[in-house]
């Protein structure tokens, strides 16, 4: 009985690792090599594109290398609104669509400047309460919550793949499955699709709350964007 209660406690707490581990550690050697080398990492194509856009549209106010550390402080909460790095960019460039090459490129360009820095979003546990609940909520035809794979079964196999902790420190990331760079929201929607749940639209409150919670959960991990994931 004690064991059952202990397991239940672990499942319910949602943040139960001895140590947070980046998705990189659950990847194959080939994927890790692809990420490690900027001349082979396909995500760098978007970062390059972002650099060109930045030079064209942003550099009259913000010098090219001036965004070091910025991505590591996002997402945050300002005046009651959740602001992710993408949304911060969208405020300045409201014409860009979610998952457009230009938005991903600018995000990757800014995020890349924080590579290797510890993720320190300016939020506290109160801010992420709703996100934590969303993370623990069973949903979809499979009736699974995020926690059931990414806490209870992280490190185990699902088919041919190793289940990661679902850490978000590499996004926007190049997923081999997509063949392109994609945002964290796209990744979250992909997981929700996997458990056959309803997909909240891009930019919706639910996805933002989940993003915020994941940032708090991944606090201290090294920033990796543009990372490569399977």
């Amino acid at each position: 009985m004690k064991v059952v209660l202990l397991c239940l406690g672990i499942v319910l707490s949602g943040v139960s690792f001895a140590e947070s581990r980046s998705g990189l550690e659950f990847s194959t050697e080939e994927t890790r090599a692809l990420q490690a080398n900027d001349h082979e990492n396909p995500g760098m194509l978007w970062a390059d594109r972002g650099a060109a856009l930045w030079a064209e549209q942003c550099s009259s106010c913000h010098a090219a290398g001036s965004m070091r550390g910025v991505a590591a402080r996002y997402p945050t909460v300002a005046e009651g609104q959740i602001v992710t790095l993408e949304q911060r960019i969208l405020r300045k460039r409201p014409g860009l669509a979610y998952e457009s090459d230009d938005l991903l490129a600018l995000t990757a360009f800014v995020a890349r400047q924080s590579r290797g820095l510890p993720w320190q979003p300016r939020i506290d546990d109160r801010d992420v309460e709703r996100g934590r609940k969303a993370y623990l909520l069973r949903r979809g035809q499979m009736n699974l919550a995020c926690t059931h794979c990414h806490d209870s079964n992280a490190g185990k196999r699902l088919g041919s793949e190793t289940i990661s902790q679902g850490q978000a420190n590499g996004y926007p990331a190049y997923r081999l499955e997509w063949g392109r760079l994609g945002s964290l929201q796209r990744r979250l929607r992909a997981c929700l699709f996997g458990v056959r749940a309803e997909l909240p639209p891009f930019g919706s409150r639910e996805l933002l709350e989940l993003e915020l919670f994941l940032a708090q959960r991944g606090r201290g991990l090294a920033m990796e964007s543009p990372a490569v994931r399977r």
Binding site: E40, P42, M44, A105
Partner: protein, 106 residues
């Protein structure tokens, strides 16, 4: 813009073999996928790639839909004289791409 990354060593010794890496942004559509509306996404893959070094063709590759999106090509050149390394490719939509880099031979 952001379409290609060419990597060559900073400089190379005369006569040495030099690794070139070329990463091209391209969807490499197989022609078998369907979009959200169920319509077939037409095949569009890079089918020809070549590299010239100081104007002389030194490497050529034929690609097809079995190659992943955003292909990475890695091949070797023999360093002779300092000069231009140019790459060129052509896809099924007859859209050409090209880029170049400078190789310094000492």
């Amino acid at each position: 813009m952001g379409l290609v990354r060419i990597h060559l060593p900073e400089q190379a010794r005369r006569g040495a073999s030099v690794e070139a890496r070329v990463l091209i942004q391209h969807p490499m559509e197989t022609g078998f996928r369907r979009d959200a509306a169920g319509a077939r996404v037409p095949r569009n893959a890079i089918h020809s790639f070549l590299c010239r070094y100081n104007g002389v063709e030194v490497f050529r590759a034929t690609l097809s839909t079995g190659i992943a999106a955003n292909p990475l090509l890695r091949f070797y050149l023999r360093a002779a004289e300092s000069g231009k390394v140019e790459v060129w490719w052509l896809d099924d939509d007859d859209i050409e791409g090209s880029a170049s880099a400078h190789l310094v031979v000492v």
